[in-house]
Amino acid sequence: MKCPVCNEEVEDQRLFCPYCSWELTPDIGDLSPERKALYNERLKIARENWRLLQEYRRFERESLEAPEIQRKAIEPEKIHKKILFCTDLYPSSDYAFAAALDLAERSGAEFIILHVLGSPHRYSGLITTAEGETWASEEVYEKIRERLKEYYFCRIEQENPDWVWIAVKAGTPWIEILRFARKQKVDLIVMGPYTIHDPRLGLDLEKPHLGKHAQRVILQAHCPVFIVTSPKQRLSFRDEGAKST
């Protein structure tokens, strides 16, 4: 079958498209008119997001080739030995992933993808999954690990990269991120600024805002933290810089 978002040929049994991570829904015909309308809306957004991501990647490639941007000083050195990318499993982390991966590839760092299954409680440790409230068991962790692998590994050029690994934890996200980063002695944390739960808003990270978890991680992490927003924000920043010089 062809992926409706990126148009690449995908094997039928796949849950996610290995090129653009679109969640493949084979039985669209069974959907009610309401759900179908929602599906179409999501599809439209995903296509637009995919187009933007391609544009971003093109921009990245062009920037690399452009002679005025000097990256030589960074390239041969392994500046960051361990990079921790924290994902909320929403597209709002996609830019952060692209940036974290890029950094890891350039610096030859170990790359960890971490997701924390958030608990609605402070102390009980119960988590909420698609099936409802449950305990964080190895079974749940394994399911999420598989999902993360499907979602992110297709974006890494190298097949089965041994420098990338996935971790899943449960609890209050910012606490578990800090605990994990400290235990693993990571050199850098990369994450998105906040979660956009509504898939219709996709990657619209232009609002200058930091979510609770990003704030606490920035304030309390023992290592540098990169918060990656929309490339549009970055472009405007560059423009401002150009004007001032």
Partner: protein, 435 residues
């Protein structure tokens, strides 16, 4: 519930358990109850479920333990399954009904005895059962190793030292005044609780230590019906305190820890007089002492309306309702008590093992919690302070379920937020700034 365990019911074992409990107290309670119904109106399960008579405490004990005695232990699995539903799903053993019974029948004790019978036949909620192996193997309900605890303490000491200079979290310090025991859910899910405790103790210049073993003050086997393990849990705490030569055992802000360590656990641990080998102090007592003695000074009082949730095992069963209120007077300008309050306050619906019992019981927990939600709403408070982790999580859930628009907080959180940090404890950067 343990579905896999379908072995035939061991009626001999049940009979033995019933005989062991067949003292004057239970025999009198079972025979003296005149079904007057006064206990019904005291039970929040009854009140929240359209006054269903099957939820009156008298009905609950009569149809569980009462029936077990009537049948002389000859019960089948189907009967025990029905009991399971009543014993764990319709009672938090909060003991409010005992307060209203004209004969003073302690219904919660009978419910606990019936839970022990069910447990002996492999019937107990999954959420409680899954913690029991951890208690047996590692000595705490979350299976946290001593190394993990040390590491978390080190981490939290680093974090808290940014707020209070010279702060340390001493481990296994012999001869300290207080051995501070905690709920394993703190290091596991909310380690900041440890950091906050360390800040308060440092500012109060307290002599304290966290033990590397016997540090879990919770006791879920007590609610699961495993009395032998419940005794082992309390005993390992007492033994460690005696080994370290501390003066007193201090408990974190946990309700049932007080019930276990101070007044119910000693019996399980084999102390026939029901008294622990050394004094057990709850955080509520110590914080009150700090504030009244001026060891902790408050910089500014909370202005938002505040109410206080009495954890059943701290207030009604532990007798600390006045201390809780005096603390709030130090912390808040606008205190609005719930009605009813103090020892008459209702259980939040998360006690008796209910919160750890997990998703299977969530719906019922939300329905029965309506009584607490209405009490909170009626106060108009914006902050609910409670010195119990189960109350905290339950009221957070009720906040969502009933749109209460409140913030739930522990005492530590509020105290840390508004206490005066004396100059000698101010972090260097702040000190320079204030200069």
């Amino acid at each position: 519930m343990e579905n896999a365990n379908e072995r035939p019911v061991d009626t001999k074992e049940i009979r033995e358990l019933l005989d062991a409990n067949d003292g004057a107290r239970i025999r009198t309670w079972l025979s003296i109850c005149s079904r007057c119904g006064l206990c019904a109106e005291s039970c929040f399960f009854y009140l929240a479920n359209n006054k269903d008579p099957r939820l009156s405490p008298a009905y609950k004990f009569k149809n569980t333990l009462g029936e077990m005695y009537r049948r002389k232990g000859k019960v089948d699995r189907e009967f025990l399954r029905k009991c399971y539903d009543i014993l764990w799903g319709e009672c938090t053993t909060c003991k409010r009904c005992s307060l209203y019974c004209p004969f003073g029948i302690d219904i919660a004790t009978m419910i606990s005895a019936a839970r022990a019978v069910c447990y002996s036949q492999g019937i107990t909620p999954e959420g409680l059962a899954r913690t029991l192996d951890h208690y047996r193997e590692v000595g705490n309900q979350m299976g946290i190793s001593s190394e993990e605890l040390r590491d978390t303490c080190e981490w939290m000491a680093e974090e808290a030292a940014d707020e209070v200079r010279g702060l340390e979290i001493p481990i296994d310090k012999k001869g300290a005044k207080y051995m501070y025991t905690i709920n394993p859910r703190e290091p596991k899910y909310y380690p900041l609780d440890l950091a906050m405790a360390a800040q308060i103790f440092t500012v109060a210049r307290e002599s304290w230590t966290i033990p590397s073993t016997g540090w879990d003050c919770t006791n879920l086997p007590m609610y699961a019906g495993d009395r032998a393990l419940a005794g082992q849990v309390v005993k390992s705490m007492y033994d460690k305190a005696l080994e370290l030569g501390v003066e007193k055992i201090l408990l974190t802000e946990c309700g049932h820890a007080f019930r276990s360590a101070a007044f119910e656990g000693p019996y399980f641990a084999g102390y026939p007089d029901g008294k622990p080998p050394l004094e057990v102090v709850h955080s509520v007592q110590l914080f009150y002492e700090y504030l009244s003695d001026g060891r902790i000074q408050i910089a500014r009082k909370l202005e938002e309306p505040v109410t206080y949730q009495d954890p059943c095992n701290v207030s009604r069963n532990g007798g600390l309702w006045e201390e809780g209120r005096r603390i709030i007077e130090y912390l808040a300008e606008d205190f609005r008590d719930m009605s009813p309050n103090r020892e008459h306050n209702h259980c939040c619906g998360g006690g008796g093992g209910y919160i750890p019992m997990g998703p299977e019981f969530k719906r019922r927990r939300m329905i029965s919690g309506r009584v607490k939600a209405e009490q909170i709403k009626a106060t108009g408070a914006k902050i609910v302070i409670t010195p119990c982790h189960n109350c905290y999580d339950q009221i957070s859930d009720l906040n969502e379920e009933y749109n209460l628009g409140i913030k739930v907080s522990s005492l530590k959180e509020i105290i840390c937020d508004i206490m005066v940090i004396p100059d000698e404890f101010k972090p260097e950067s702040q000190e320079k700034h204030s200069d």
